[in-house]
Each structure stands twice: as C-alpha cells, then as structure tokens.
C-alpha cells in the first residue's frame, strides 16, 4: 500500500485554479522530487498535504487514513519552509523541542531525541543560540533538525536550499540525500531548480499549469520528455526547438536549414527538439550516427570551465550547443563550425498539442501515449 495517496486534488483561489486534478502516490520511504517553474503551485500542493490550506476537491490519504479534513497537528507531518520559519524568540534547543513538547512527549525523552538529532546534524554546539545568531546554512540545519526530531510519517521540503549560496547548496544537497538514506523517511521535496531535481530524486514529478506533466526517474524525464513543457523545462541550457513539417518520412525546418530523415512519424506540423548536449563535433560520433551535418556560424561563446555554451546561427535560426572546452581552440566568435546530430536523440513534438511523437522502445515499455 502506498504511504501517501493524493486523489484528484484541486485547489482554487477564487476563480483562479492553481491545481487541477493531481493524482499522486508516494511509496513508503520514497524520496519524490516535485519540480516545476515558479508559481506553478508547488507550495500550494505542499500546504494542502500539510493541512495548512483546504483542498477545493479531492482526497488525501496517509496509509489508509483519510486526512483530507484533519488539522495540520493531526496529520503527523513535518515541513521545512523555504524561509525556515524558525521561532525567532526561542533558542535552537527550544525550536527543536517545541513540536515534541506540544505533543506531550516527556521531558527526558525530548532531551534525548533533540541531542541525538543535533549530533547527527552537527549542530549540538548551537543548541543555546537564537536563530538570528546563526548563519543561513546553520539555520537550514536547525530547520531540518526540527523536522527530523519529530520522526513524522511524512517530510515536506519546500525549496529548502534556495536561500543558500551555490557552494553550500551542493553540499546540503548531498547531505540531505545521506540523511534520507539513513532515515528512509517518506519525503516530498519541492524545487524549481531542475538540476537539483535531476540530481536528488529517485523519482521526479514535473508540475506545470496545475497538472502533473510527467513522472518518472531523472533519466526518463531527461531522455523522454512527454511534451514540450517538460522538454523545455528540464535541462540547462534548455532544449533547442525548431518548427517544421514532416512529410513522407522527412522533417524539414520551416526555413529549410535542417532536413532529417524520420521513421514511423505521421505527416504534419511538428517541433523538433534537440538538446544542446546532443549537438556534437564530427569527430565525436561515428559516421553512421551523423544523421544531419550542419554548417553554422558561431555567434557567442560562453566558457563555463570544462565545457562551453556556444550559440550557433544557421540561416537565421539560433541553436545553443554545449561543447567540450578542448574544441574551442580552433574557433572564435564569428567563425564557422560544422556540427553533427545524432538522430536517435531527436525529440519530435506535435506543434499543436505539444505532445511527444517519437515512440521509441522506452515509450512502448512505459505505455505512454504517443
């Protein structure tokens, strides 16, 4: 039996429908990452699960217990807010023990658990400080500690790393994953950062426009996005999108710059998606993988370190590509460059509905509608 079940959750604020029919099942001990652009309703969904707001329609089950109408305190859930929401007038110890005391755990037990969790998170020396005497990273740990110490049946994290600097963010990411391996607590982790989502989730749920667009492993979502929204959102820099037409197993972009053979795809207006990482130098691919060879002009080069993002222009169309730094030697902005594509990595989408058209082996296995 799944640990948490959301059935057809709807949430409206006045006339504005923020969530429109969310169905989701979380298995015991699973770490689910909920990702979507800002304003897509991620926080709203967490607040509904926590009981801080009431659903407009739908059901929330924990185990087989219907908690839809229960108060937050009756749901046995812990949440880490984006701004940490530490009680400013209480010490770290009081912050961490507050929930246990409110639930009537006896004093000795409270103390034992707070100290145990504080040691686990390396914050035992901070126990007597007030939140305002802590750095952002320490506040973050306290907020996590306050959730962990309660040993709840579900953890909710609302963009917990978004207020940290980049370095600390990657460190905390790893640490949170370690913590999860240790505790095996059922967790919903919300982020708007697709990279964070890819690196953390056993399972990713992509939310946009109030509905779940896709769920799957990071690989599924990266290699087989089910529609344009997911394809455009996951991956950085984002996928190149070329408008064009398929007729007679041949795709031609509108301006005719790119022409490739297709297999088993219906005729019609389509959008071809190519990830920047899938644009290669001729030497990188074997000759039979050269599905399409293009001669482009280099517009901009942005060096990131080991890799660079280059913006290419082909007959007025812009393409972004990621190439390895060693290829930069012979080229400069304004010069010409020959690139090749691997046609197995092409993503075709219906230009009208935005749905994915390729049906490869993966799609058959997953039973996803093409």
């Amino acid at each position: 039996m799944p640990k948490i079940t959301l059935e057809n959750i709807q949430k409206k604020f006045g006339k504005n429908t923020v969530l429109d029919g969310i169905d989701l099942e979380l298995g015991e001990g699973e770490f689910t990452v909920l990702v979507g652009p800002s304003g897509c309703g991620k926080t709203t969904l967490l607040r509904l699960i926590a009981g801080l707001d009431q659903v407009s329609a739908g059901k929330i089950l924990i185990g087989d217990r219907d908690v839809t109408r229960l108060e937050p305190r009756e749901r046995d859930i812990a949440m880490v807010f984006q701004n940490y929401a530490l009680y400013p007038h209480m010490s770290v110890y009081e912050n961490m023990s507050f929930g246990l005391k409110a639930r009537g755990v006896d004093a000795g037990e409270v103390k034992r658990r707070v100290i145990q969790v504080a040691e686990m998170l390396g914050i035992e020396i901070l126990l007597n400080r007030k939140p305002k005497e802590l750095s952002g990273g320490q506040q973050q740990r306290v907020a996590i500690g306050r959730a962990v110490v309660r040993d709840p049946s579900l953890f909710l994290f609302d963009e917990p790393l978004s207020n940290l600097d980049a370095k600390l963010r990657t460190e905390m990411r790893t640490e949170l994953l370690k913590l999860h391996r240790e505790l095996h607590a059922t967790t919903v982790y919300v982020t708007h950062d697709q990279e964070e989502a890819m690196s953390m989730g056993d399972r990713i749920v992509v939310l946009n426009d109030g509905v779940i667009q896709q769920r799957g492993t990071p690989r599924d979502i990266y290699f087989h996005p089910v529609n344009l929204l997911v394809a455009g959102f996951i991956g950085s820099p984002s996928m190149n999108m070329l408008h064009g037409k398929i007729s007679g197993d041949r795709f031609a972009s509108l301006d005719g710059a790119i022409v490739v053979e297709t297999k088993n795809l219906p005729d019609g207006d389509v959008i071809l998606g190519i990830r920047p990482e899938d644009i290669h130098q001729p030497a990188d691919l074997t000759a039979e993988q050269h599905g399409c060879v293009l001669n482009c002009r280099i517009d901009v080069i942005e060096l990131l370190g080991a890799r660079a993002i280059i913006t290419l222009i082909v007959v007025g169309v812009e393409l972004r590509a990621v190439i390895e730094e060693r290829y930069l030697k012979g080229i400069s902005e304004g010069s010409d460059l020959i690139v090749v594509f691997d046609p197995d990595r092409f993503h075709f989408f219906d230009a009208v509905t935005g749905r994915r058209l390729n049906r490869d082996r993966f799609d058959e296995e997953q039973g996803i509608d093409g």
């Binding site: 607040r47 009981g51 749901r75 949440m79 701004n83 929401a85 009680y87 306050r146």
Partner: protein, 276 residues
C-alpha cells in the same frame, strides 16, 4: 571639485544643524519655562521674565501634600492601565485577524474612522449611555469612553507588527502540534512583543493625556490628572506655580517611557497601511 562638494556638504550640514537647534529650542522652551516656574516662590510665579530667584519648594509641597493631585494621579493611572489592558485584549486578536485574513486598505482605514470625527460628536451619545448606566463620575465611565479611541488606535498600531511576522511561523507551529489559537499566543504574540509594549505605551499616553472626555465625564473624586490641572485655573486667577508642578508630573513619565520605545512607536504609527 571633490573638495568643493565636501565643503558644500559641510556647510549644508551646518545649516541643517542650526535649524534643528532652533526647532529643539522652540519645542523644549516651554518645558524649561514650566520647570523654572515650578521652583519660583509664589510672589514671582506670575512674573514671566524673572530668571534669577531663590529656589523654593513650596509649589511642590503644596501639590504633593496639600492638594488632591496624588488622588488624580492614581485615577489617571488606573484609567490608563485598565484601558490599555482591555484595549490589548481586544486589539491583539483584532489586529491579527486584519493582518492574516485578507483585508483591503479601505477596511483597515475604517478602523480609524471614529478617530477622524471630532470627539464632540461622540461625547453626547457616550454621555447619555453612561448616564443610563449610572457610570457618570466614575472611573469605569472614563475607561469606557477612552476605549472608544484607544482600541482602534492599538488595533491599527498592531496590524503593522503582525504583517511583519511571516505566516510560515504560525503554520510551522500548527504543524508542530498547536491549534491555531495556541500558535497565536505561543509563537506570534511573543514575536510581536516589542510591538505590544509600544502599543501599550501609546494607548496609555492617549488615555493619560485625554482631557476632553474626562472633563465632561468626571468631577470630584474621579477627576483625572489633566482635569485637575485645568482646575488650577480658578476664578481668583491661575495658580501658575502649582499648575507647573502638576504639568511636569503629567508629562515627564510620558516622555521617559516614549523615549525607550520610540523606534517601535514610529514603526507602529505606519500601521497596516505600508503594505499596500
């Protein structure tokens, strides 16, 4: 060029400073004058431009030991404290509600609507009501009258403080096992404590300073301090020396306490309006 600007900055600072000094002198002079007056012997009290005289404690002795002023001070204190306690008990939950449940700027301003009217409009109905309740010339009567303006002001004052408390704080408390009301008094109230203190003092000062309602609603034993001060203006003339002493007693505590909460006072006076 840079040096010139620096110089100009300094001269304009000098100019501002002298303005400030003038303003301070204008504001503070009456206090100094009253203080000096309170120490003058009776025969010099009515002569304003005498600055050198033998200091006399007679006015202070008269007021503190031989007049009703101590009783009036106690009356004012009782009225002020009780008014503030009731106003906080009512105003806190009210302000919290205005802050948390979406309220338009117009709704918030309506809290102050009664304040916008001249008190003369309010006094007649209040007088009649209190008369029916036999509360004329009692401290409870004055307290009720003061509540009509202290509650709105305290409420207004506190909205801004509640607005600054992130909602997540009470959400967290509720997830941690509190009811909404427990979250309010265990987490939110302690967080806005500076605001509560400032609101309490502000409300107290309003009540302490009120002359209009107290003058009409009290007399005899229930007179408050401002009314008693006005009482020194008798048909034999103004008893300037005693009046000066009473005035000092009336204003000094207010000044001292306000000084300690000035930061929060300014914040609160912006009320719930700033967020819109």
């Amino acid at each position: 060029m840079e040096r010139f600007q620096h110089l100009r900055g300094r001269t304009s600072n000098l100019f501002l400073e002298s303005l400030l000094i003038v303003a301070l002198a204008v504001v503070l002079f009456p206090f100094v004058w009253i203080f000096v007056t309170s120490l003058k012997p009776p025969d010099l009290v009515a002569v304003p431009d005498v600055w050198i005289f033998e200091i006399s404690g007679i006015n202070w002795r008269n007021v503190l030991l031989e007049s009703n002023i101590p009783q009036n001070i106690i009356n004012s204190l009782v009225v002020g404290v009780v008014t503030v306690l009731i106003a906080l008990a009512v105003g806190c939950p009210a302000a919290y509600s205005f802050s948390r449940f979406k309220s338009s700027a117009a709704t918030r301003f309506s809290i102050l609507a009664a304040e916008m009217m001249p008190p003369a409009i309010m006094i007649l109905p209040i007088f009649l009501l209190l008369y029916q309740l036999s509360l004329i010339d009692t401290l409870w009567g004055v307290i009720l009258a003061h509540l009509t303006f202290v509650i709105p002001v305290v409420t207004w004052f506190l909205i801004g403080f509640f607005d600054e408390v992130p909602r997540e704080l009470e959400d967290q408390a509720m997830i941690d096992g509190c009811t909404h009301f427990q979250a309010f008094y265990k987490v939110i109230l302690p967080v806005v404590r500076p605001g509560l203190a400032a609101a309490a003092i502000f409300g107290f000062v309003l009540s302490w300073n009120d002359m209009f309602y107290a003058l009409i609603l009290t007399g005899g034993e229930s007179k408050t301090l401002p009314v008693a001060i006005a009482g020194f203006w008798t048909f034999r003339g103004v008893e300037m020396g005693k009046m000066a002493v009473a005035i000092l007693i009336a204003i000094v505590p207010v000044l001292i306490v306000s000084f300690f909460v000035q930061k929060h006072l300014v914040r609160g006076l912006g009320g719930g309006a700033v967020k819109y």
